[in-house]
Symmetry: C2
Subunit: 390 residues, 2 copies
Amino acid sequence: MYQFTYSIPTKIIFGPDKLDKLGKELSKFGKKVLIVYGGGSIKRNGIFDRATLSIKEAGLEYCELSGVEPNPKITSVNAGADICRKEGIDVILAIGGGSVIDCSKAISASAAYDGDAWDIITRKVKIGKCLPIVTILTIAATGSEMDPVFVISNMETQQKLACGHPAVRPAVSFLDPTLTYSVSPFQTAAGSADILSHIMEDYFLDDGETMYFLDRFKEGMMKTVIKYAPIAIAEPENYEARANLMWTSSWAINGFSGAMRKSEWSNHMMEHELSAIYDITHGLGLAILTPRWMKYVLDETTAPKFYDFAVNVFGVDPALSQMEAAKKGIECLEDFLYKKLGLKSTLTEVGIDDKNIDVMAKKACNGKETLNGWKVLTPAQIAEIYRACL
Amino acid sequence: MYQFTYSIPTKIIFGPDKLDKLGKELSKFGKKVLIVYGGGSIKRNGIFDRATLSIKEAGLEYCELSGVEPNPKITSVNAGADICRKEGIDVILAIGGGSVIDCSKAISASAAYDGDAWDIITRKVKIGKCLPIVTILTIAATGSEMDPVFVISNMETQQKLACGHPAVRPAVSFLDPTLTYSVSPFQTAAGSADILSHIMEDYFLDDGETMYFLDRFKEGMMKTVIKYAPIAIAEPENYEARANLMWTSSWAINGFSGAMRKSEWSNHMMEHELSAIYDITHGLGLAILTPRWMKYVLDETTAPKFYDFAVNVFGVDPALSQMEAAKKGIECLEDFLYKKLGLKSTLTEVGIDDKNIDVMAKKACNGKETLNGWKVLTPAQIAEIYRACL
């Protein structure tokens, strides 16, 4: 029976030139701000100056944590949590994409804990009081700006783990599509593959219940990505394309379309092992894995959902048999990812060989015997999917 | 340029048998509860007892305001606001449909004002401090459980006016599809016409911007109503149908799909005049009006949107010309409303003649010269639309 608790209180300020409201929004949470960001492009392109101007005008103080990595590391989290404790930070301002926001969530959850933040990520220590988070999003991809989940890597233990808590869902997020004009064609493509994957992880599942309404919503989101990602790549300053991708990225994963259910997110679990070892771009890893996973799980029982996908998302001829349409739908997805978005289609092309496949396949089960999901996968089956990607 | 502020913090507790959580949710706001309800069916069917049991178990006290009318009257609002002031109410619990929830919102907005609540509705007096609202929804229709708007009638002045404020958006809403099993076929049909209208009022507009993503979402919601309303009428205890209708009703009007924009809602403005004078069921009035409005505004400039509607919602042949498809789409809607839902198709059938048409046409402009919207309508044109409904 279809039941859930829905609560997405994140306030979204969507549109260009809204950063003058930043100081006012931050001041609702206190006086001292920790600004978290990545490689420093926000200093070159003026976003940092616009943000700090508004912060100062509101009479607030700020500290900085820079250098957050594309797959954020536990070392950055510990550094940020240290600053929070030493400086008495009231609110965290994340400026960046999913990595920076995820890192900020981990800092928020760890600031009140005096030990190694990895204890929080591994759930050895329970999350207590969290610091509020405000974000300025600079790339449409992970949806971290409106969800309560974060993923942190530990290069020492070669682990990449997901964690979540309602209290780290950002309180306010500034979504300005013009800030994504400078996102490169490759990052736009990889981000779009990530958005698509978020939608598909909640679409391709069967928990014996039907929320027809939400499946139509998910199909609409997939169509949006398929329509606008190539436009954003060809015309980086197309506001309509960037706005549609940005708002879709948030709704793909904020919990609404998945109806607050915990699906197993099989492709993400497999991809996390890839990037834990090889540090490849998350969306690229997903783009390589997903069609192979689809072919592996396609059978008589799963074909009806693939049929809906093919017909409703890619406009495949509804007169085809379920299995024919299903296969055609997967072909259309491959065509989109590898031709229209121009993403690499094999692990070999990104320099990954079969050396670690069995280890990754085991770790993808995340401590369990199998990777549960639409189809339960054993480590041997997961290894087969990895090998099909070579 | 597409921009907005999104903030929908209403917490939704969706599913059967959740009322044991009611007391805990209410207790977050204080000790004294005003329970607002309608004709008393909630006392016969056990909902009142289940709610008050949970309230007592949480150690809270409650007062009651019963007898809220189907088109809630300002007299009920004043009565409720009186109780709030005299009893020191902390939180309002609305048990019912849109009318009860709308009345509760008006009470919430008026409780701190010592004069006639009509001053608030007519905006003579600004809304100040509001009381928090928790709702238990018993019919899927108006979406009032998740939006900040309320509509109140004054039979003395023959006015039905809409008002809104972020602070009256319900804090928590309990959505239990099984509570709508007892909704009659007629009320299910009228409620579904209301939901459809909410989606269409934000779909048929042209503000020079494209949020493709949201238009696909709106089409998915329309398809959901078209699929499940007839099922809910034929099988009143079909959980899947009731759940899809209920969750769609909330999202049709909570502000998300309209992207927080103020569209003019022409059909609602025209319908409000009908029910202000004749007190007819809101959804029925909308069902009679909407196809006539569509035929009236259909021309070369509006045909493309009607084409999308026809093809994407009703599966009309995409090979037809825009105008042919558009007309076919309107026919499909008439067939759905008058045949599949069995709603009456003319004002004459519900006992309304042409006597008040010119007065209503003028009042539908709400104090302005024209009714602005997708097509600007003069009172003479509005009167033509009313006459086409006879």
